[in-house]
């Protein structure tokens, strides 16, 4: 038996099965039940390919293939083991009741054929296929707002008698091209009844965008059935589409989505969409059916307040929609429920993360109370969602505990928070109002305030803040609560006549929160009698007839009110007198007592009464053993000490005043208890550098006695001025200086001494700038005797300027300096001695010389003035004489050669030779730049010539000498070589170069030279000698000294004898001579 069933995957195997399901469906439709076993061999023309299937397990539908034997063929089908087991069928199929388990032989015999055409099959349940009925979708609806498809179908369970699991496979196809967008299964059970089933599906694309088709099939999974189970056929497709008549073209419309969602928008239109943009971003178009297009956004971001605009643009129109991307509401944060007045509960919370949804899409909060079942709701469409929300809930009369649940919901979701509160423990009273203060007495007031609320069931703690200046005090009061009433509190232990600022706040006794402070109320307590009399002192006038009574104003704490007047009275043993009342600004009074031992009383009075009087004895007990002491304070006060005196029965009084003030002076006083032996006097009036007098009085029964008188500074300063000093006397070696005292006001401390500097120095010199004591040339004298007022400075130099400086110093430092310049007088004795000693020495030398000369006069005469011999006795002259007379061979002296001292200058042109007088022209004056072309006849320099050997040329023969460096150019060097390069002269001789070539000159080297070729010549120093020591140049030197034309530079008179060393040497020396002394 051949059983080649297609392996059917069990339902629920997952995606693989789903993918192959379509193919399976096609194959299973093609495969039929094969004949199980042919007992006899099949012949051609007999029924074959028996296939059986069932849809409800009760009836098997078997079919076979029959040979094409024409119309009217009928078959007899027999099944063994069954009574009435043969059936007759007109067709090639037959429906039979399901067979019992096990194999059954089925015989199919064509009734009009031969018996050989009978076919036998072994049939069992295993070979039967269970293929359910094809389901039908009874209803397909679309919720376009939510893009949801709703499918309804009936399972036809009544046709299936058994309980069985059914798997429904649903597929959703989109667009006209039927793209499968969803394929899913739905499980249910067959219960023997017809049951409708529903399935919904939300599309990722709005349903309006394209047509959607839905089909369904099923699979019955009955474990009792052992045959092949197969899917039913797909139901007929049902479709849903959008009516294009809607004014809206873009979908989804006004949708609220979660931030981060992928969302598809489409535009349903008949015109071509050109662009699509969201916000300012363009998106690619996804084509749909027709001209419909879509865009897809991945992970949309939160929208602005008015939503995110999605716009599709055509050529001349735009379509759009608004999408609202936000978040579901966060759990309400910090939910707090309390009551202000036990009438109403206020719950506050903060919304947490913003939802980005506002207006009608904002979060709605519902406060639900579970015990009472009541709720209140709030919705705030404002953007400022960070602010806290609040809801009021009216309290119920007999309910103290409330279980609140706060629900928050918006289109994207909901959340909640809960709180259980006992309101009597969450009382946060309102701010107390109408605060009033009423006086009870000078130290107590009655404070009242109003507190709205129904606090009758609880106790309140109210706190009062009492402020006075910078002092602050808190007082608590526990009161029984009342309903909407005023509360009272007595505030006592206050000071009379004192301004207080009062405010109050309250809380429940079961503390939760204080209320806010009430407004402040300022109140001044009423006055009381001054607590004590004023601090009093008295001073006797200098004439001893009058007492001036001083008293200090009472402190605020002692005055207890505004002092209206002071009452002063004095009494002696005989009488008591009272002065008229003295109004407050005045704090002194004068009395003329008849007795020294009077007693003075001073009392202060305010509206509440008079203070106890202050009493002071007027008697002044003399003290002969009194000396003035000095003291310096510590900067902020002065310490006074004294020995304990048992006689002082009452107190000590320290009085002080500025020492520069006239008597009687009184700045202040201080009373010290009688058992004290020291006190530190401090006062804001003390100033550094000011001298004060302090007087310590002891109080005895009959009066006060001055015990000590002290002069002191609170702090010493350096003197303010320098002492004035003058020079009283000046001698040649000493100066007497005198200075004056510095006034006490300027001294600013106790004078410790003076410092006197002096040094040599004059005004306006550098030394004057300062006299530092460290300098070695500055002499210092420290005068510690402050009574000394003069100083003599000795051992000075006469007629010398001295710089004197004087400065005073105190304990506070050095004062400024005062300086003076003094010149000591001249020392006349020394001058006289200085003159007389040289005169005396000269006289003595003269006398000694005279004596010596006189005594040696013979020797001197022999040495310096010998006798002059007589010429007539000269033998030499005698010989000459004879010679002249006797020898004719002797010739007279020939003056040869003789050269005239005037030279006639011959010019190389037709110019008439002329004779010029000598005129001295400095060679320096000749301009070197005058070239040959400049050879103007008018500018020719007359040259005179002086013979070298004629020394008698005399002043008449002025010689114009041409500087060898500038004018002379040796033209005729016998060797003819290297003239220019060696001489250096041409470097400055820019005139015409002579072209005369002297005999013996070699080649043309000594001839014409380019005059501008100065670079080939090495210029020498202007005053360097012209190679005088060179043997090669000796011939040139031979012409030296010869005059030459300014233009041609040719020697006008050549050397007479070039070989003459004498001439040559004379020329050289001559030139040198003229070089050095041109004027000569």
């Amino acid at each position: 038996m051949d059983s080649s069933y297609l392996a059917q995957p069990p339902p629920g195997m997952g995606k693989t099965r789903r993918l192959a399901s379509t193919v399976q469906w096609l194959l299973s439709a093609a495969l039929l039940l094969y004949p199980m076993n042919e007992v006899n061999g099949q012949k051609k023309g007999t029924p074959r390919d028996l296939k059986c299937m069932t849809s409800n397990l009760q009836v098997w539908d078997c079919s076979w293939k029959a040979p094409a034997t024409g119309q009217g063929m009928s078959y007899e089908v027999c099944i063994d083991r069954r009574s009435h087991s043969c059936y007759k069928s007109e067709r090639t199929s037959i429906k039979i009741q399901s067979l019992s388990p096990g194999d059954h032989e089925m015989t199919i015999r064509p009734l009009r054929g031969s018996s050989n055409s009978t076919s036998k099959f072994i049939l069992s349940e295993r070979n039967v296929s269970l293929i359910p009925f094809t389901p039908e979708i009874s209803n397909l609806s679309a919720d376009f707002a939510t893009s949801t498809l709703h499918i309804q179908w009936n399972d036809r369970g009544s046709a299936f008698l058994y309980q069985a699991e059914v798997i429904w496979e649903i597929k959703v196809l989109r667009k006209e091209s039927m793209e499968v967008v969803k394929l899913t299964t739905y499980n249910s059970s067959l219960s023997g009844k017809d049951v409708d089933h529903h399935w919904g599906w939300t599309s990722d694309m709005p349903l309006e965008c394209a047509v959607h088709y839905v089909a369904i099939r099923c699979f019955i999974d009955d474990p009792r059935f052992s045959g092949r189970k197969a899917w039913s056929d797909w139901s007929r497709l049902k479709s849903v589409s959008w009516s294009p008549d809607s004014p809206n073209k873009v979908f989804p419309q006004d949708k609220v989505v979660l931030v981060g969602t992928d969302i598809t928008f489409c535009c349903v239109t008949q015109v071509k969409i050109l662009t699509a943009q969201i916000g300012q971003t363009s998106y690619p178009l996804i084509p749909l059916d027709g001209r419909n297009v879509a865009i897809k956004i991945h992970s949309i971001s939160a929208s602005a307040n008015s939503g995110t605009n999605v716009v599709f643009s055509t050529y001349d129109n735009i379509f759009g929609t608004v999408i609202f991307a936000g978040y579901p509401p966060d759990s309400p944060q910090d939910l707090l429920c309390e009551t202000y007045d036990l009438k109403e509960i206020i719950c506050t919370w903060s919304p947490g993360r913003p939802t980005a949804l506002v207006g009608p899409r904002s979060t709605t909060y519902t406060l639900f109370e579970s015990f009472s079942g009541r709720h209140v709701r709030v919705k705030r469409g404002d953007v400022s969602s960070n602010e806290s929300y609040q809801l009021f809930f009216q309290m119920l009369p007999n309910q103290e505990t409330y279980n609140f649940t706060l629900n928050a919901h918006n289109p994207l979701g909901r959340s909640e928070s809960a709180v259980l509160v006992n309101v009597t423990e969450k009382v946060h009273p309102h701010t107390p109002a109408s605060v009033k203060v009423k006086d009870i007495n000078s130290t107590a007031v009655l404070l009242s305030w109003h507190l709205p609320g129904n606090f009758a069931k609880i106790k309140l703690i109210c706190q009062t803040e009492i402020k006075h200046n910078s002092e602050q005090e808190l007082r608590n009061l526990t009161v029984k609560g009342v309903e909407n009433s005023n509360y009272l509190m007595i505030v006592n232990k206050l000071n009379p006549y004192t301004a207080y600022t009062l405010r109050v706040r309250c809380s429940a006794q079961t503390f939760w929160k204080w209320s806010a402070w009430s407004s402040e109320k300022r109140h001044v307590t009423i006055e009381a009698v001054p607590s004590k009399g004023p601090d009093t002192w008295r001073e006797w006038s200098s004439d001893g007839k009058k007492i001036i009574v001083y008293w200090k104003p009472l402190s605020v704490s002692d005055a207890n009110g505004a002092i209206l007047a002071y009452d002063v009275s004095y009494s002696s043993e005989e009488e008591t007198r009272t002065l008229p009342e003295i109004p407050p600004p005045q704090h002194r009074a004068e009395i003329w007592p008849s007795h020294k031992d009077c007693v003075i009383d001073v009392a202060a009075r305010n509206s509440a009464g008079s203070s106890p009087p202050s009493r002071i004895a007027g008697m002044q007990i003399p003290n002969d053993d009194l000396k003035i002491e000095q003291t310096v304070g510590g900067g902020n006060g002065i310490l006074l000490t004294w020995n304990h005196d048992p006689n002082m029965t009452c107190d000590y009084v320290v009085k002080w005043c500025n020492s520069t003030r006239p008597e009687p002076c009184l700045m202040d006083w201080r009373k010290v208890p009688s058992n004290s032996t020291e006190t530190v006097i401090r006062s804001d009036q003390f100033r550094p550098g000011v001298r004060y007098n302090f007087f310590l009085y002891g109080c005895k029964s009959q009066g006060y006695q001055l015990l000590r008188s002290i002069v002191g500074y609170i702090e010493e300063l350096a003197p303010n001025v320098a002492p004035n000093f003058t020079v009283e006397d000046t001698s040649a070696d000493s100066i007497l200086v005198r200075w004056e005292d510095i006034p006490v006001e300027e001294l600013r401390g106790f004078l410790k001494g003076y410092l006197f500097y002096f040094e040599k120095g004059e005004r306006d010199t550098s030394k004057m700038r300062g006299l530092e004591p460290g300098r070695s040339d500055v002499k210092i004298k420290n005068i510690t005797d402050v009574s000394q007022k003069t100083l003599r400075i000795a051992d000075l130099q006469g007629k010398t300027s001295y710089h004197l400086v004087l400065r005073a110093y105190t304990g506070g430092g050095m004062g400024p300096e005062k300086s003076m310049f003094v010149v000591t007088k001249e020392n006349s004795v020394g001058l006289i001695i200085a003159i007389l000693i040289p005169v005396a020495v000269a006289v003595i030398v003269g006398v000694v010389t005279s004596i010596l000369c006189y005594r040696k006069r013979e020797w001197i005469k022999e040495t310096f003035y010998p006798d002059i011999p007589n010429p007539e006795n000269c033998k030499a002259l005698q010989f000459q004489k004879s010679a002249c007379e006797g020898s004719s061979a002797l010739k007279t002296l020939e003056m040869n050669p003789c050269t005239p001292n005037t030279v006639e200058v011959l010019e190389a042109g037709p110019t008439v030779p002329k004779t010029e007088d000598t005129e001295l022209a400095s060679p320096v004056a000749e301009r070197p730049e005058s070239g040959p072309g400049d050879g103007d006849a008018d500018k020719q320099v007359p040259v005179s010539y002086c013979p070298p050997l004629v020394e008698e040329a005399g002043p008449a023969g002025q010689v114009v000498y041409m500087d060898v460096q500038s004018g002379y150019q040796p033209q005729a060097r016998p060797d003819g070589g290297q003239d220019g390069g060696q001489d250096g002269g041409p470097a400055r001789c820019t005139g015409y170069k002579p072209q005369l070539q002297l005999p013996g000159s070699r080649g043309g080297a000594g001839g014409y030279r380019p005059q501008a070729d100065a670079g080939t010549w090495t210029p020498l120093a202007p005053l360097a000698p012209l190679a005088p020591l060179s043997p090669d140049s000796s011939s040139d030197v031979g012409s030296f000294g010869s005059p030459c034309s300014v233009d041609s530079r040719q020697f006008l008179i050549p050397p007479r004898n070039e070989e003459s060393p004498k001439w040559s040497g004379g020329g050289w020396s001559f030139s040198n001579f003229f070089q050095n002394k041109p004027n000569d």
Partner: protein, 215 residues
């Protein structure tokens, strides 16, 4: 330009036609209405910027010019020039009055849906000013003896966010409302300026020409 303008302003008090103190007639109220129109123009410029930014792109883009889809019920300010010239003063004032009556209702609708408090304050302020302008126009009409136009029954505009009206179409309507408001304020300024000159013939004779190259 500025100097010239200052000089003109300096000499304005010297123009006798502007300093008439006798029987004032409807002139001052026309002037005040004109001034109020200009003030509303200024106010709208600021408000529209804020509101269009609130609507978001592309509504706040400078070249955005959508078709007038659902805003057909808004009174149109644009009118053919010849038609405008053919109108008499009464008709002009009546059209202004009717237009602002309608526009005011729509602006109140804007106020209701604006999400931010600041925007709501600005719209509320603008509504008050628009109400004032409506009163001023009514005052001018009364001074000139013209009756106020009676609204036809059933045509009273109401702002109702109906379900068929999507948010996007509502935004388009808001955009057009602001645009029409602006155009109406321009037209009104022109209308009142013309009326002002007509009521002050002597002043109308004075022509102040400001030469401003580039303008």
């Amino acid at each position: 330009m500025l100097t010239c303008l200052c000089a003109v302003l300096w000499h304005l008090p010297a123009v006798p036609a502007l300093n008439r103190t006798g029987d004032l007639g409807p002139g001052p109220s026309i002037q005040k209405t004109y001034d109020l129109t200009r003030y509303l123009e200024h106010q709208l410029r600021s408000l529209a910027g804020t509101y269009l930014n609130y609507l978001g792109p592309p509504f706040n883009e400078p070249d955005f010019n959508p078709p007038r889809l659902g805003a057909e019920t808004l009174p149109r300010a644009t009118v053919d020039l010849d038609v405008w010239r053919s109108l008499d003063d009464r008709l002009r004032l009546a059209q202004n009055y009717e237009a602002y009556s309608h526009l005011l209702c729509y602006v109140r609708g804007l106020d209701r849906q604006a999400a931010t408090a600041e925007l709501r304050r600005g719209l509320g302020h603008f509504c008050t000013s628009l109400q004032g302008l409506l009163g001023s126009i009514a005052g001018v009409m009364a001074a000139l003896g013209y009756p106020l136009p009676q609204p036809l029954p059933g045509t009273e505009p109401t702002w109702a966010p109906g379900p068929a009206h999507s948010d996007f179409l509502q935004k388009m309507d808001d955009f057009w409302l602001l645009k029409e408001l602006q155009t109406w304020l321009w037209r009104s300024a022109k209308d009142f300026n013309r009326l002002k000159k007509k009521m002050q013939p002597s002043a109308a004779a004075i022509t102040l020409r400001l030469k401003a190259p580039g303008f």
